[in-house]
Symmetry: C2
Subunit: 642 residues, 2 copies
């Protein structure tokens, strides 16, 4: 049987296979990252790949005919499981959206039109050789030729480069590529012409998760994305415990431990991204980083102690440029690391990035943005003014602090439905694998479905009188079975407990309170809001109707709600690609008004009211009230409104 070679882009991995195999089987042999939920049955339509129709174009299968759009067909998009490889030297491209990453990550977020305006530029130079008539210094020669050929001005050179310039120029036969940062400083000199290779990283440091993107900065494209749990979690799931660990009073100095393990994890992610994309770490000249203010401080080795004490003062608000070497970050050591500005002690640079990505700062319509994470940041406003606040929602929606919570990885239950008559729960898992736990989007569904099925009431209390196979008293109190042991990956019942429900309601109450108080501050009601952006790791996967039903946000028309995924990551990528966006970030950080919720006199009452589903005062939820009545769950006794 003839052997055919397939090369996979952009990884560059190659494999030789017999022509009886499908591209999907080749993918598995080559160890290439490609989504396939149904495992090759042709039913999930996820394993989309791209093959240049000019090189190889077998007829479309029935499955492909019905699942691909005409545009996809024109572009050469195919389903990997449907194509047999009957051609030698086939080149297969795996589009970014067909990759799984290590876990499901929202990498696209909002598509924002961005004029490339790089901080880092490269110039190829062929220098005249020195002579007794032209004995200019090496540096003068380079800078003067750059000025002459490329109209640069006022360039200086980063002093670390001076050491090796002399031999480098002579060994490269006076043909070099010069990397210039911010049109002011030469930060790298390489032999030969490398002008087309400029790579950058955008990093989002969440309390619970890290997400990192490798970009081809010239093409403005994401080459690869990776993520990991924040390795600081063992030192405390929440921000306060980590701050206390870093600045505990029995240590004279900041404890550098949390910074070091974080940097180590980031370096591992960088290595893996580089390997995947055939990029050398030396070719990464720029990195941008966002995170909440505590993560920002710990990452930068700043003392975070006063973030946790009123009046919650950060060490620095403005953006910071650092040499990667200084931080131990393994990209080009003479490159640059830009940490975006923060807004306040509890509104970090991740929030600035969300504002950049949603472009709220330049919109006329009134926008609300929720960036859901361990801390949920709420922003409200438009180009006239922007208010932000921060809510300690806890990590419930990230799958932490919930008995069977997990992150959105293979085998996570991502959506559920409960049959009100049988109380049987049906579910969908990521990659259609046996369930291992429940992730954020299903956690939203669970509350909605439990209420609709009458298992809980609007206060979240379970109805102990229910008799059902799926409802029982367990070791942690009452619990409801979402997936029975015989269906699960670990042979255990996957349940939701009364305690879990309490956690979830406290989390959603926190964000609801933040939104309500910002609306008060601006003197508006939900009717005045034109657009809602929901950001966060699970962004694109939650059911916005269920989210509104449980009261994660006020009753705003669902057509106004947009899921924007990891908008913080999007903002970090925009900042990586554009100097103008960087200036914008500084302006946003300066001009956005931080609202301190804890000192609002109605904070406590709104918070307690928000722990109800969707809210204690149902007059503010007319549509939801009608629905509750329809499904027979409108409370007989209205909750006490505080």
């Amino acid at each position: 049987m003839p052997e055919n070679e397939i090369a996979f882009l952009p990884d560059g991995k190659r494999v030789k296979i017999h022509d009886s195999l499908t591209v999907l089987e080749a993918v598995k042999l080559a160890g290439v990252d490609l989504v396939s939920v149904c495992g090759g049955k042709g039913t999930c339509h996820k394993c989309k790949i791209k093959i240049d129709p000019a090189t190889f174009s077998p007829p479309l299968t029935e499955n492909e005919e019905k699942s691909l759009t005409p545009m996809e067909k024109d572009e050469g998009i195919r389903l990997a499981c449907q194509i047999k490889v009957s051609k030698n030297h086939l080149i297969v491209q795996i589009p970014e959206y067909s990759r799984t990453g290590k876990q499901r990550l929202q990498i696209e977020g909002i598509k924002t039109a961005l004029e490339p305006d790089l901080m880092v530029k490269k110039y190829y130079l062929e220098l005249p050789e020195p002579s007794l008539e032209d004995p200019r210094s090496d540096v003068d020669r380079i800078i003067q030729e750059l000025n002459k050929q490329y109209k640069t001005k006022g360039l200086t050179i980063f002093s670390d480069l001076l050491k090796n310039i002399a031999p480098l120029l002579r060994q490269s036969n006076w043909q070099i590529t010069v990397t210039v940062w911010n049109d002011t400083q030469i930060i790298a000199i390489e032999p030969g012409n490398t002008a087309k290779r400029i790579f950058g990283l955008a990093l989002d440091i969440g309390t619970t998760k890290l997400a990192i993107y490798l970009l081809d900065m010239i093409r403005g494209e994401v080459l690869a994305v990776d993520s990991a749990m924040n390795p600081q979690i063992p030192y405390g799931e929440d921000i306060i415990s980590r701050i206390n660990y870093v600045s505990s009073p029995d240590k004279a100095q900041n404890s550098p431990e949390l910074q070091q393990i974080l940097v180590k994890q980031i370096n591992e992610l960088i290595d893996s991204l580089c390997e995947k994309s055939a990029v050398s770490v030396e070719e990464i000249y720029e990195m941008t980083a966002v995170g909440n203010t505590a993560m920002h401080h710990i990452f930068l080795n700043l003392n975070p102690k006063y973030l946790a004490l009123a009046p919650y003062v950060p060490v620095i608000r403005g953006g910071i440029n650092l040499k990667p070497k200084q931080m131990g970050i393994k990209i080009n050591p003479t490159g640059n690391l830009y940490c975006l500005p923060v807004i306040a002690g509890y509104n970090g640079s991740d929030n600035v990035a969300v504002l950049l990505a949603t472009e709220m700062y330049k919109r006329s319509e009134l926008c609300l943005a929720l960036d859901i994470g361990t801390n949920t940041e709420v922003a409200l406003g438009n180009k006239e003014q922007l208010l932000v606040c921060s809510c300690a929602s806890g990590p419930a929606f990230e799958g932490a602090s919930i008995k069977f919570g997990m992150r959105a990885a293979s085998g996570a239950i991502e959506h559920i439905q409960i049959d009100p008559s049988t109380l049987k729960c049906s579910y969908i898992t990521i990659d259609s694998l046996p369930p291992r736990g429940i992730c954020g989007s299903a956690i939203v569904d669970v509350i909605a479905e439990l209420l609709k099925a009458g298992i809980i009431d609007v206060s979240g209390r379970m109805d102990k009188s229910i008799k059902s196979l799926y409802f029982r008293e367990g070791s942690d109190g009452y619990e409801f079975i979402l997936a029975p042991a015989n269906e699960t990956a670990n042979g255990m019942d996957i349940v939701i407990t009364q305690k879990d429900i309490r956690q979830i309601l406290l989390a959603k109450a926190a964000m609801h309170t933040g939104t309500k108080l910002l609306m008060d501050e601006l003197g508006i009601t939900e009717k005045d809001i034109d657009t809602v952006f929901i950001a966060g790791a699970f962004g694109n996967y939650i059911d916005v109707a269920n989210a509104r039903f449980i009261g994660m946000y006020p009753e705003i028309d669902l057509s106004k709600v947009t899921l924007v995924g990891n908008a913080a990551g999007t903002g970090a990528r925009m900042t990586l690609l554009s100097k103008k966006v960087r200036i914008l970030a500084e302006t946003i950080s300066q001009q956005t008004k931080y609202v301190e919720l804890a000192i609002k006199k109605n904070f406590q009452s709104i918070y307690l009211n928000s722990t109800f589903i969707p809210y204690a005062d149902l007059t503010q939820y007319p549509e939801t009230s009608i629905f509750l009545k329809k499904v027979g769950r409108f409370p007989l006794k209205l909750p006490h409104i505080f």
Copy 2:
């Protein structure tokens, strides 16, 4: 007998003595640095000290009456050897000019009127404490208050400071002093008010010697000066051998050894200066450094290899600002080290400093400057244009490569005279101690006196026919005894050998050639030169008439010749005190024309002619010719003119 305490300023050293002793004796007991050539006889008038007349004012002695100027008398200047200490708690000030340093060093050089215009400024701030109404970040608070109180603008903060700001502000009760560099960057934050303490260092890295000055930058005064031999000497006395050592082909990388021992020596000098002046290294925020291009490259760890190969290209010409930490220099680690720009491969930043100190760049009259060292740099021109060249004169005039040569330290013969009838040599030594060797100024005299006495002819050849106690054949050929063994410190005859004479003539020939060729380049003769500056470590001590007589420089009217001492050090100090001078340094470095002597077609002939005393073509030395005729040393046979 009552005991009196004397405190010496600026060192702060104290000693208790009986009132029968003089201040000079107290000085010796206290180990304080004070010049005393006659050892207390009252004849040298060097041991000048200052005592506030309001505190203690015994009548002037006869010696003081005749040796002090009326102004000195008014100021309280006294001779330490003349005053007995009959007062408790006496405060005695040692003016800078009365200190010896470790060796005699020209620290004053030219006095140049300089408006203080510091790179480093300090601002004292009392900050408002943060509150929930004013939760600005620590950095915003500092920068905004600086802007408000001191009208600063666009300040950034050096990232290394961020780590400790938070606890520092709170421990100092929000009262701090902020140090700003170049009106752009905050480089230090200190608790309390330290605004009056800003210190700086100026360093002159010679091939043979280092000189370093500690300045009170606010008062613009030198507090202390120190010097040491360049510790690289064991790796080669001349520049070429050091360059070869650093960049020898069997090493892949620069050898860092020479840089490291240099920095170690500099740090020792800094420690000693700080101790003498009660200044902490943390209070030194700025340092300037000058040196020839090879010293500059080795100090900065730049590859010096191509300095030694035609076309003698330096790595960098412009000035460089570095963090001291980067260099291992132990001043405030967040301070700044500025290495002045160089001109070319063989005209370094020491030369730029000489041009700054002599102000040749702004004079209308035509000036010639010789900076005599292991390499002698010659500059010629005025505000219209400046030419420079470099001559490999070797270290003869620094006392090296001469059998009994030594540097200008205690016991060095600094001037000699030979009685033409007896051929007995009389001499003066530094500090009137028994002679240990001869230093630069005496080396100039030796050639002149040997010729006048007829021991050598104009070609420098010793007359072997001489019969004298002081002339003989030794192990190194013919030699003349300057000081007999029974008078010397080490019990050996101090002699000058035929070989020494050859070395000295080659050295003076090199500088003479440089001057002649620059004059050719400019199309002028010695008559057109209005001013001659002679700089270098021995600057103020040489006999300019003898120097001209032996042909160190062309026959220019002696009234036009000024000794300017260590002008390179002066230029480094000026650059330390003034931003404007720093900009000037860059302009001078760019606009000064370097003349490559080796490619001049008449280089060889002028050089050979210059090895004669004063020069082969005596028509260019009419005054000297008359003198030679008068003392009977006009050559019977004129030397062959090449």
